[in-house]
């Protein structure tokens, strides 16, 4: 039995039932890492929120999502809340707004720990500090006593990673966790994430619009376009022999160092043009 089995997942929004994602299916085994890649508006975040049961109330979700064989679609809010933060957790795109500005970050991390307190023994603050150290925050004591606005974007995103991993979940969904960070910070946060996933034996669904970033964390990747999965497979296979024109474009833009000197930089639009779009 796989950790996560998604089949025929479809999400429609609002009264007009606008389709945001259409018949998405994939499976994810224990400790596996799967990337989802696609351009803005392709339905990556909607997929993530659907798996977490966090879509707004105007969303109609059909299909099936099984976590360790348990169907989660249609689960009540209370039962879902037990899964979240414990079996499933999530790191969001915007570290600037994902932490409550009125609460010290140490307490925010501790709250997650206490929400799912299986072992109430031991000092929660001690465990929070230890976790903050493990995600690479050197003076963890000071960080724990800071408010979010006193921290940098990179520090906040590390806090969010600590929050997502403190209960050793089975699956972490990362929705473009490094998009809002600059390149050097991005590399460091990705490294920490990579190490932590290994150490905690946690599976990961890693969402990005950047194939180069996904390839640092994941072994397999799904390519999403307009709410559908157009291609999937091991990442080295995708790089070597992309089949869908959109994927070809992605691969070309992810390998800018292989562009022949003198030729123009490739864009996705060179390879794939939407029906109806004019160039």
């Amino acid at each position: 039995m796989s950790l996560l089995e998604v089949s025929g997942l479809t999400v429609r929004f609002g009264r007009r039932q606008v389709v945001a994602i259409d018949d998405v299916s994939f499976t994810l085994g224990e400790q596996e890492r799967l990337g989802i890649i696609g351009e803005s508006g392709s339905g990556k975040t909607v997929t993530a929120l659907a798996l977490m049961g966090l879509l707004p109330e105007n969303a109609a979700v059909t299909g099936s999502v099984r976590v360790r064989g348990q169907e989660t679609l249609g689960l009540g809010e209370a039962e879902y809340a037990k899964l979240r933060g414990d079996t499933l957790s999530m790191v969001f795109q915007e570290p600037m707004t994902a932490l409550d500005p009125t609460m010290r970050v140490g307490r925010q991390v501790a709250e997650v720990l206490l929400l799912h307190a299986r072992n109430t023994s031991g000092n929660s603050r001690q465990r929070v500090i230890e976790m903050l150290r493990r995600v690479g925050l050197a003076d963890a004591e000071r960080i724990a006593d800071s408010y979010p606005h006193q921290l940098s974007g990179g520090q906040r995103q590390r806090v969010c990673v600590a929050m997502a991993l403190i209960n050793s979940p089975d699956l972490v969904i990362c929705d473009e966790p490094t998009t809002a960070l600059d390149v050097t910070v991005q590399a460091r946060v990705l490294k920490v994430l990579d190490e932590m996933l290994d150490a905690e034996h946690t599976a990961c669904l890693f969402i990005s619009h950047d194939l180069a970033v996904v390839s640092q964390v994941c072994s397999h990747v799904l390519v999403m376009l307009d709410g559908r999965i157009v291609e999937s497979g091991p990442i080295h296979r995708i790089f070597a022999t992309p089949s869908h024109p959109y994927t070809k474009g992605l691969v070309a833009t992810a390998q800018l160092d292989k562009v022949a000197p003198g030729s123009p930089l490739p864009t996705v639009a060179d390879f794939y043009t939407r029906a109806g779009a004019t160039r």
């Binding site: 977490m52 966090l54 109330e57 105007n58 809010e77 209370a78 809340a81 037990k82 899964l83 979240r84 933060g85 414990d86 957790s89 999530m90 969001f92 915007e94 707004t97 994902a98 932490l99 409550d100 500005p101 009125t102 609460m103 709250e111 997650v112 929400l115 799912h116 969010c160 929050m163 997502a164």
Partner: protein, 272 residues
């Protein structure tokens, strides 16, 4: 620089609080015993003179500060304790249980539409005119203001990323209300409270003036104003002192409210 409003407001309020505290232990003269020195002009030893019953005006003003604070605190607390949870409940109810929002806010509309003066008259008729009935009437009449402000602020907080992140971590709806919504709407409620305080002071003075609040003889500022009316043509200065006291206290709380708004509003904070 813009903090001048806040500090002026705080200074005026501190003055009222100090007067109220001093009156607990000391007043220059007995604030309730009638004497023969009626309607003295300002001078020595009665710095602001005496009123129609021969009671020292400063002493009465000091005691009045106490009543003004008590009325403000109790009626604002009443309104906030009833109104804020209602607003949060309505704001968090969401589309699926939208009827909760409807019911709560329509009830508030009804209370809002009901004239506060009529409410005070009804309460006074049932329970007798007293400071307590005035406070209850003012408190009940301002519940909708708190409910609306709290609801609007809650809707904003509920749509924020950190609430979504808290839900992703397994926090339940009611824990979110307590841990994330209340602390984040506190500044807005604080602004409403200080403005509500000013309104409560004015309303209590008006009700006392109309004889629907604190009974005659108790030194409240509104009551003093009413007493001064009897000698308005001969001794207009009698109305000046309680009027000034009310105006300064109301100004203080309004300045505090505006000052807090400026300091706490993140959009304004960014500009500076």
């Amino acid at each position: 620089m813009r903090k001048i409003q806040l500090y002026t407001g705080l200074a005026l309020i501190a003055l009222v609080i100090a007067a109220g505290l001093v009156s607990l232990v000391w007043t220059p003269f007995d604030p309730i015993r009638v004497t023969a020195d009626r309607l003295l002009d300002p001078g020595w030893p009665h710095l602001l003179g005496t009123d129609a019953m021969g009671i020292d005006i400063i002493s009465r003003l000091l005691i009045g500060a106490r009543y003004c604070l008590i009325v403000g605190i109790i009626s604002v607390s009443l309104a906030a304790i009833a109104g804020v949870p209602m607003g949060v409940l309505a704001g968090l109810s969401g589309a699926r249980s939208g009827w909760v929002d409807e019911v709560v806010m329509r009830v508030n509309d009804v209370v809002y539409a009901f004239p506060a003066l009529l409410l005070a008259m009804l309460l006074a008729a049932v329970a007798g005119a007293s400071t307590v009935t005035a406070m209850v009437a003012i408190g009940v009449a301002t519940i909708p203001a708190f409910a609306r402000v709290a609801r609007a602020a809650t809707l904003e907080v509920a749509a924020s990323d950190f609430v979504l992140a808290a839900r992703a971590a397994g926090t339940t709806k009611w824990s979110i209300a307590v841990r994330h919504v209340f602390p984040n709407i506190a500044p807005v409620v604080g602004v409403q409270a200080s403005v509500g305080f000013a309104m409560a002071i004015l309303a209590e003075a008006a009700l006392s003036y109309l004889g629907l609040g604190t009974p005659r003889g108790t030194p409240t500022w509104g009551g003093m104003l009413r007493d001064a009316q009897d000698v308005w043509y001969t001794q207009p200065v009698q109305a000046l002192w309680p009027g000034l006291a009310i105006a300064l206290a109301v100004l203080g709380f309004n300045l505090l409210g505006d000052g807090l708004r400026d300091v706490l509003d993140p959009r304004l904070r960014e500009v500076r």
